[in-house]
């Protein structure tokens, strides 16, 4: 965090251009030596980060999300300066403090107070500065008597409290945080989040990496979604997190398809009735719509026998969550006995989902709803995230009203 550059005008705090990091993977440690001595490549190159470019203004907070191994930690380490980039360049204005791992550098046998001095000077504070900050650090960490006992007697939550408290006392211009909040109890999580929000108020720049979309949304204006080392998306927080959550659900759904196939075996083998197609708002491909838009589902069923049957329709989110299910037989007490083609339409005048990717599944069931003749899934429909509703969470837009009683 020592990298101090001249304040080169403007409001740009971090400028990263075409940044890349390649790790050299060696099969054996001795290969590294051979490569140096014989000047013959002996490694496998692994590109952890490929041409990442972005810019963060002063006072802005940037979230970094992505799967494990997407390059998040590499990017943070490059920003913090513990790794050197393989290509590209970056400019950071002001003092950078990195919280890549809470408690790195703590000595287990030393007391909390001794560790404050060691750790804070590691982060670049002078002895006088530490002395001035000591009270504030102790206050925030809330360790009480334990501060003069060795760190090894601490619970993990206490270690985290002390580490966070020291790290944020450095008063940096740019704060780089990796998953720091995922530890500690609820009370402390809130407390540390408050401190970071205060940082933002003071016009400091934050780069924050987390798997908690809720926290990312709360803390960050803008989000970068990293996927296998490249920037997959970069936009305002609510958009990117919504898309990422979508992607996560889809991935989960794929995992589940095996089970689903087994379920499918429950359908009667001899095809006597089947679904020819399902359309959404007259289209067969994927559609996207806004919240509270109208959705028309049209189902075409081909019946080859006269057995009674009924049609059921379900709306599922892409992670397989059943959001809504209906069965015409149960609702209207009506069965179909016709042979030949027939079409049914279900109209949903306004879908109250916040955002996400959904699809419609239609079933052709026998009269008792026990046998499934056929089952077909429509193309997906996306509900776009709504920028006005960024304070609400969950699946449904439920009307509500706050009243202050007293």
């Amino acid at each position: 965090m020592y990298r101090e550059t001249m304040q080169a005008g403007g409001e740009v705090s971090i400028r990263v251009h075409d940044l890349g990091k390649t790790y050299k993977l060696y099969a054996k440690p001795s290969d590294r030596l051979k490569e140096v001595l014989l000047r013959r490549p002996k490694h496998l190159a692994f590109q952890s980060l490929k041409s990442v470019s972005f810019q963060v203004s002063k006072g802005e907070s940037l979230g970094i999300i992505g799967d494990n191994g997407a390059g998040k930690s590499t990017l943070l380490k490059l920003l913090a300066g513990t790794l050197t980039p393989s290509c590209g360049d970056m400019d950071i204005h002001g003092r950078v403090a990195a919280l890549l791992e809470l408690g790195a550098g703590f000595h287990q046998e030393f007391t909390g107070r001794q560790n404050i001095y060691l750790n804070a000077s590691l982060l670049g504070l002078s002895e006088a500065e530490i002395k001035a900050q000591e009270e504030a650090i102790l206050d925030f960490a809330e360790l009480g008597q334990f501060i003069d006992r060795p760190i090894k007697t601490y619970s993990s939550g206490m270690v985290v409290r002390l580490a966070f408290s020291i790290a944020t006392s450095v008063d940096p211009d740019v704060l780089v945080i990796d998953e720091a909040l995922s530890v500690g109890d609820q009370y402390f999580q809130k407390k540390s989040l408050d401190r970071m929000l205060k940082f933002r108020e003071y016009g400091k720049t934050i780069v924050f990496c987390s798997h908690s979309m809720y926290t990312v949304n709360l803390l960050c204006n803008r989000v970068i979604w990293l996927d296998q080392g490249i920037v997959r998306e970069q936009d305002i927080a609510t958009e990117v997190t919504a898309h990422y959550e979508n992607y996560l659900r889809q991935k989960e759904e794929k995992e589940n398809t095996k089970e689903e196939r087994r379920e499918d075996a429950g359908c009667i083998n001899v095809v006597t009735k089947y679904i020819e197609y399902i359309s959404l708002n007259g289209k067969y491909g994927p559609i996207s719509m806004d919240r509270n838009d109208n959705l028309d589902v049209e189902i075409c069923v081909q019946s080859l026998s006269q057995d009674p049957f009924t049609i059921a329709v379900a709306i599922e989110r892409n992670d397989g969550l059943l959001c809504h299910g209906i069965n015409i037989a149960l609702e209207r007490n009506q069965y179909f006995r016709r042979k030949g083609k027939m079409r049914v339409r279900v109209s949903y005048p306004c879908l109250p989902f916040f955002h996400g990717q959904f699809s419609v599944v239609a079933f052709v069931l026998d009269g008792y709803g026990l046998y499934c003749f056929d089952k077909k899934r429509s193309a997906v429909f996306d509900i776009n995230p709504c920028r006005d509703l960024k304070h609400e969470l969950g699946l449904l837009d439920i009307a509500h009203e706050w009243t202050l009683l007293e």
């Binding site: 050299k24 440690p29 300066g81 990195a98 000595h107 590691l122 982060l123 670049g124 060795p150």
Partner: protein, 277 residues
């Protein structure tokens, strides 16, 4: 011409940055040294006492084996004392300052891998503080020895030369520390190897035996060993009150070359530490 000048400046920068960081990060260095000295024994019963027990045991064993069993006799004419213990200690303590510093420094980077990959700070402080810790713990013994010798009448104006000698001693140790600690990041075997090499080095340096015990044909080679020059110079100054300036200047030169190379290698290897650790 311009180009050469710039290259020279870059070289000087690499060479001086460990010195520079000592000044700029004095409080952090203090913390590290404290961690190295106290942290090593924190929680053990004897605590800091172990820094005494170790060299005392070593002195006891060597004195028993070499003075009592093997009956090595040192003469007043050659070494300035006929007391084996005094002879031995004036060589052993400077050696321990060197060897303990090296042994500690070699593993200092790989032992703090989590720190290097997670926190940005001048990494050269790690081998440097390990070296200082080794110097302080063994230097106390050296100072006590000098005090005892002064008390028994060995003190002499020539002892002033101990200061530049000690400075060169430090520069040499520092250079080797920087080099080995950085090399050890890439080749972990170094850590095992250092213990062995130090043992061989110890016995090939005239610490436990006077030079006159060494056969003629080996004696010429002994002076290729910088530590031999140093130990003999220490003894000359402390016990015999004389100084061979040419030898001392040679050692100074050697130690500066070692420091320049060690420092240069360390600063060149530094950006790769994060990748390897």
């Amino acid at each position: 011409m311009m180009h050469a000048l710039i290259r020279a400046r870059i070289f000087i920068h690499l060479f001086l940055s460990p010195v520079n960081c000592l000044v700029r990060h004095a409080s952090l260095l203090k913390g590290f040294v404290g961690r190295e000295i106290r942290g090593r024994f924190a929680g053990s019963v004897a605590g800091i006492g172990w820094t005494l027990i170790h060299p005392l045991a070593l002195i006891g064993i060597y004195t028993f084996v070499f003075s009592i069993v093997m009956r090595i006799q040192v003469t007043q004419e050659e070494t300035g004392t006929d007391n084996f213990l005094i002879f031995f200690l004036t060589g052993l303590l400077p050696w321990l300052i060197f060897s303990d510093s090296i042994a500690r420094a070699t593993g200092s980077l790989i032992g703090n891998a989590d720190l290097i990959t997670k926190v940005v700070f001048p990494v050269e402080l790690l081998p440097t503080s390990a070296m200082i810790a080794g110097t302080v713990t063994n230097g106390i013994g050296f100072v006590l020895l000098l005090g005892y010798l002064a008390f028994t009448g060995y003190a002499n104006p020539y002892w002033v030369f101990l200061l530049p000698l000690f400075a060169a001693h430090m520069v040499f140790t520092w250079g080797v520390s920087l080099f080995l600690s950085a090399l050890c990041v890439f080749i972990r075997d170094i850590q095992e190897l250092v213990g062995l090499v130090l043992m061989v080095w110890f016995f090939s340096t005239p610490i436990i035996y006077p030079v006159s015990f060494v056969p003629e044909w080996v004696r010429d080679y002994i002076m290729y060993n910088p530590m031999a020059i140093l130990i003999l110079a220490y003894r000359n100054v402390i016990l015999q009150h004389q100084i061979y300036l040419s030898d001392c200047l040679l050692f100074c030169l050697v130690s500066f070359i070692f420091f320049a190379l060690g420092s240069w290698f360390f600063m060149r290897a530094k950006p790769a530490f994060g990748d390897v650790l």
